[in-house]
């Protein structure tokens, strides 16, 4: 198949830039090859990194290409409202984990999130979390590889196999050599590469459409032509009173509770992929500052990743987002006979059309960087959970540290091989991946209730946590099975138990599924906890809020104190929301 988006085509300068980037990525791993002496070095960077590095890595580990591509796509679909995924759906949770939860993660000396569950609750709760998390990381890594292979084929005509294997080999090499330090250093490098690769795209794009005012005018005209209110694309909070009045198809309550509370806190506060970065920090203060430092760039990232999608929608008069191609090779049409756009190509299309050779290489390197760090983040989290929570717990308990270091390296290789396998599964059986992601969503939805109760209510018991998690997961499946987004047929989109409610959008359904799962887990955990015997207070010191002394801050300057950083970030968040309301 011929690449559909080739604008100018790649030249030697672009390949050189991409090649130099790869060389630096591997070079970092090579420089660190002698630094990995203990398993703590390999899995937790010896808890020795300063906060600004772990902070940028915390942000970057989440900034996989699916995020970059997906946010561009949502920008084109929903406009500036997409920034809710950052402002409501990330920043508050990042502040919470830094200020209130990090004292327990870092202070308990747990080496992973599942291990914290073991310390706080019991073995079965840890096992449930560790197994589901390990499987999830391998699959996300595979999906990331698949997305990259498919995109590179579409954009540049590169072979899918070559893209997958080369990127896997590079990620494997630098993690084997330099462990988590290598992954984190590369995430910091990638952070700057994404900023410098996408900022000019936004600058040139805005310049082309006549600045922010030009973009607003064009998007307003488009919104009106589509039968929406004029501000539909350019105001984040307008029409949030009812799902029928905004492009996302969600009302403010579902948005704030579902996305802003349940999903966002569930991810940022409990996902080991990001928490691991904070655990690698050199002190309690640094660990707490890690998510706070990440929150600041996170707030302004919408301008970098969402704006390209919005610009792509209107640039040059009718936009440059290509149509979705159906099975027969003809553009897909919706029920009204209008062409369906392939929104996932919004951002890549901007790269191909706006950048000349040279900048194009830089933009592609940034895109590849985000793909690879997404993979690496998953693999480093996988090898740690596998080694500490599964292997050391169930296979060999008391081996010497070198043995676990070796097992960690083996797990890295096996994890990458499994991820490659998952990439090929994704390539041939789209439905299986969709189904798996659904199951993961069910497992993840209730998680925050368990952690919240565990950390802030000392009466919570291990039985309560386990049964709460399980019932929350089941509640998610039941709610999903009883509802359907508008226009979908029962099946993987829901409704398999019969359709009771129809949501205006899939997003609305997802948010409400999360709300039901969380609430069920919360209630069941409390009920079972009250019926079972709690642990003695002495055993919970360092694990529960009421029984743990406040960590004394060693920060000298006021601006270094976590609480101060948190308040400033919150104020900035408020200002941004008011400007784009």
């Amino acid at each position: 198949m011929a690449p559909v988006l080739t604008g100018v085509g790649l030249r030697w300068i672009d390949y050189t830039i991409i090649g130099i980037y790869f060389a630096f990525v591997l070079g970092i791993g090579w420089q660190l090859r002698r630094a990995m002496r203990t398993s703590t070095d390999f899995f937790l960077s010896g808890r020795s990194l300063p906060a600004w590095i772990t902070g940028l890595a915390f942000l970057s580990a989440n900034l996989g290409a699916q995020e970059v591509i997906g946010m561009g796509a949502s920008g084109a679909k929903y406009g500036i409202s997409t920034s809710h995924f950052y402002w409501i759906g990330a920043v508050p949770a990042m502040l919470f984990v830094g200020l209130f939860m990090m004292p327990f993660y870092y202070g308990s000396r747990a080496r992973s999130v599942p291990e914290y569950l073991r310390l706080r609750f019991d073995e079965k709760t840890r096992a449930f979390n560790a197994v589901s998390f390990a499987v999830m990381t391998v699959f996300s890594s595979g999906v990331s590889m698949y997305a990259m292979g498919a995109l590179m084929h579409l954009l540049l005509g590169w072979s899918f196999n070559v893209s997958v294997f080369v990127s896997a080999a590079i990620v494997l090499t630098y993690i084997l050599l330099g462990g988590l330090t290598s992954a984190i250093y590369n995430e910091v490098l990638q952070f700057f590469l994404i900023v410098f690769g996408f900022a000019p795209l936004v600058i040139v794009g805005l310049n082309e459409v006549g600045g922010w005012s030009g973009l607003t005018a064009k998007l307003s005209a488009l919104a009106v032509a589509q039968g929406h209110p004029a501000g539909a694309y350019t105001h984040a909070w307008q029409g949030m009173d009812s799902p029928a009045h905004n492009l996302i198809g969600v009302e403010w309550f579902g948005l704030v509770m579902g996305l802003g509370f349940v999903l966002s806190f569930g991810y940022w506060c409990t996902d080991f992929l990001v928490v691991q970065r904070a655990m690698a920090a050199d002190s309690m203060d640094s660990a707490r500052r890690t998510p706070l430092i990440a929150a600041v760039p996170k707030m302004v990232f919408p301008f970098l990743v969402i704006l390209p999608g919005m610009i792509a929608l209107v640039i040059g008069g009718k936009g440059i987002i290509p149509a979705k191609i159906g099975a027969g090779g003809a553009p897909l049409l919706d029920a009204a006979g209008k062409v369906v756009l392939d929104y996932d190509l919004a951002t890549p299309s901007m790269l191909m059309h706006l950048f000349p050779n040279g900048m194009l290489g830089l933009g592609l390197a940034a895109l590849l960087a985000s793909f690879m760090s997404g993979m690496a983040g998953n693999i480093t989290a996988f090898n740690t959970v596998w080694t500490y929570d599964l292997y050391q717990t169930y296979v060999r308990k008391d081996a010497d540290d070198q043995h676990y270091l070796w097992i960690g390296r083996v797990a890295t290789v096996v994890g990458i091989l499994l991820a490659i396998a998952a990439a090929y599964v994704a390539a041939s059986f789209n439905n299986i991946m969709e189904l798996l992601q659904l199951v993961f969503a069910f497992v993840n939805a209730p998680l925050f209730a368990t952690f919240f109760l565990g950390m802030f209510w000392r009466r919570t018991t291990g039985h309560g946590a386990f049964w709460g998690l399980l019932s929350g997961t089941i509640a998610a499946a039941v709610h999903h099975g009883l509802t359907l987004p508008a226009g979908a047929v029962p099946g993987v989109k829901g409704g398999y138990f019969g359709v009771v409610t129809t949501f205006r959008s899939e997003m609305g359904q997802t948010f409400w599924t999360a709300i039901y799962a969380w609430t069920t887990c919360f209630v069941i955990t409390i009920l079972v906890s009250l019926a079972t015997r709690p642990r003695k207070d002495e055993e919970l010191v360092g694990l529960v809020y009421a029984l743990t002394p406040r960590p004394p801050s060693t920060a000298r300057a006021a601006w270094e104190k976590p609480a101060f950083l948190g308040i400033v970030t919150l104020l900035l968040l408020l200002v941004l929301n008011l400007i784009f309301a």
Partner: protein, 73 residues
Amino acid sequence: MSATGDLDVRVPIGGLFTLLGLLLVAYGLFQPRVAAAAFTRGGQINLWWGVVMLAFGVLMLLVARPPRNGARV
């Protein structure tokens, strides 16, 4: 220090951006007429963005911790 092998992450970042900046500046000077596929207003973008990247790269190298025995910045 052990888990970082005395490698300051600002060194590879500074190195990469300096190198890419120089490359883009040079390419922009010698190939000033490369056009983007469909839109051309970013015309000299290789040149001016190369300068920005170069400046950032040099800054990173300047603030990086000097290798072993040097005073910590």
